[in-house]
Amino acid sequence: MSVSLSDASIYRFLWVYPALQESVERMKPVGKHSLGASGEISDFQEILRYLDELILYDNMWDDGNSLGPKEVHNYLTRVMYNRRNKFNPLWNSLVLGGVKNGQKYLGMVSMIGVHFEDNHVATGFGNHLARPILRDEWHENLSFEDGVKLLEKCMRVLLYRDRSAVNKLQIAKITEEGVTISQPYALKTFWNFAAFQNPTVGAEGSWKVTITGDSLSLPPSPTMGDSSSTVIDYGNRLDI
């Protein structure tokens, strides 16, 4: 997910999923631009190889011309769409960001070749959870720090809603000079809601039962902050 900022710099960050290694980097610098992906990591690695070759040949011309982010985005679109047409897609959603001649560029390509350019883009569920926030709160003159805060806000929402995510993320800052990608860092999350304390209290078939007032009755569904109830755990008593 990415945001475009006022001082000719754009950035994004992505989750880092732990696997057998400490972390998997889903965002890489490509020439002076930056590419991030969701989906198949193996396909992402393949795409990185294609782009390596593209940037290499571009540099080999050594003629003062260079491929900008718009050109790379279009190249990726062609690749993805072509694979889709052969019923053998590269299973990724790609986000490409870059700055050239003072022009900021942020584009997205999906695995079926849908592509567009916008001030903020997201992949997967980010489109549903994060973009509404971005639509409300993004504006042309965001500073870098404000942009990071905005993205962290979005990422937190996504983190809470993803059962297999880890709270680590990376930020890429892209300016005319090039790309810097931060080290992975953790987001603080808050899980101390009352409903999360004893989430299965009173659920059908559970051992735990709530007592409200003076009679033992069938428990209502667990409510937040119901301080008048006490919990009796029948789990270890076999004579009930």
């Binding site: 003629d63 011309n65 050109e71 279009n74 001649n101």
Partner: protein
């Protein structure tokens, strides 16, 4: 040039290190009717003299639009020129399709030059017999290149190719330092004047010449006859005296009949600049 025993094959060197077939191909360029190009910082102008086979036929097409930002003027074997223009158009449109961006002129020219070089190193091929003046605009500014049958290419501020092109070159040599800051109108004026030099007294009118422009904010396009005639009249080109007689042109500029070429061994081969 004279015939010699090393000029049968393109893949045969002469003892002096020359490939005569390639040089002969460059002769073919000199036989074609003149084409000139000049550029400023923001515009490039191409102009050519249109010869017709006879009064009954139409004029040869010598200027081709290759893309919105690139055009080419040819001199020599027009058939070869047409084929190379088609190649250039193909390269440009493929690049545009893949990158959504115009092909930088410098890269197109190198691809063209490499294509020409192949024909100088295959025994079953012959060199292209056409010289191309490529005019284009890209991120790095306005460009004018000349592509040779030898596979060489050069960038120019102003250049002329084809028969009697030396006259135009002389005219432009005196003025080219000012071209970089010329306005579009000045550039057009100089182009028409230079073109008139190659006509050697013949009257300049829009029916025998073609003019094309490309510039910042201006797509490559060929000016129509009325516009050109308007320019000719406005600049009063027809009415002016021809300037000082052209310098002694190398015999190679003369039409094929005059075989007064310098002996084959004299001087560096044209393509070895």
């Amino acid at each position: 040039m004279f015939r010699n025993q090393y000029d049968t094959d393109v893949t045969t060197w002469s003892p002096q290190g020359r490939l005569f077939q390639v040089e002969y191909a460059m002769e073919a360029v000199k036989q074609g009717s003149a084409a000139i190009g000049l550029r400023s910082k923001t515009h490039v102008v191409l102009a050519s003299v249109n010869k017709a086979q006879s009064e009954l036929s139409s004029h040869q097409k010598k200027i081709f639009k290759v893309d919105h930002h690139i055009g080419v003027a040819i001199a020599g074997l027009t058939a070869d020129g047409r084929v190379l223009s088609r190649y250039m158009r193909s390269e440009c449109i493929n690049y545009s399709y893949t990158y959504e961006s115009p092909l930088p002129v410098g890269r197109l020219v190198v691809q063209l030059a490499d294509k020409a070089q192949v024909c100088t190193q295959r025994s079953w091929k012959r060199p292209y017999g056409v010289g191309l003046l490529v005019a284009g605009l890209d991120e790095s500014g306005a460009h004018l290149y000349y592509n040779c049958p030898s596979g060489n290419y050069f960038e120019y501020q102003a250049f002329a190719i084809g028969s009697r092109s030396q006259a135009a070159k002389t005219y432009m040599e005196r003025r080219f330092e000012g071209f970089v800051s010329s306005t579009r109108e000045d550039l057009l004026k100089d182009a028409l004047f230079a073109l008139r030099e190659t006509l050697q007294g013949e009257k300049l009118k829009s029916s025998i010449c073609t003019v094309a422009v490309v510039g910042v904010g201006e797509e490559f396009h060929i000016l129509d006859n009325e516009t050109v005639q308007g320019l000719i009249d406005a600049f009063e080109i027809v009415g002016e005296e021809t300037p000082a007689p052209e310098e002694a042109a190398p015999a190679a500029d003369e039409p094929a009949a005059a075989d007064q070429g310098a002996p084959a061994d004299e001087g560096a081969a044209p393509m070895d600049i």
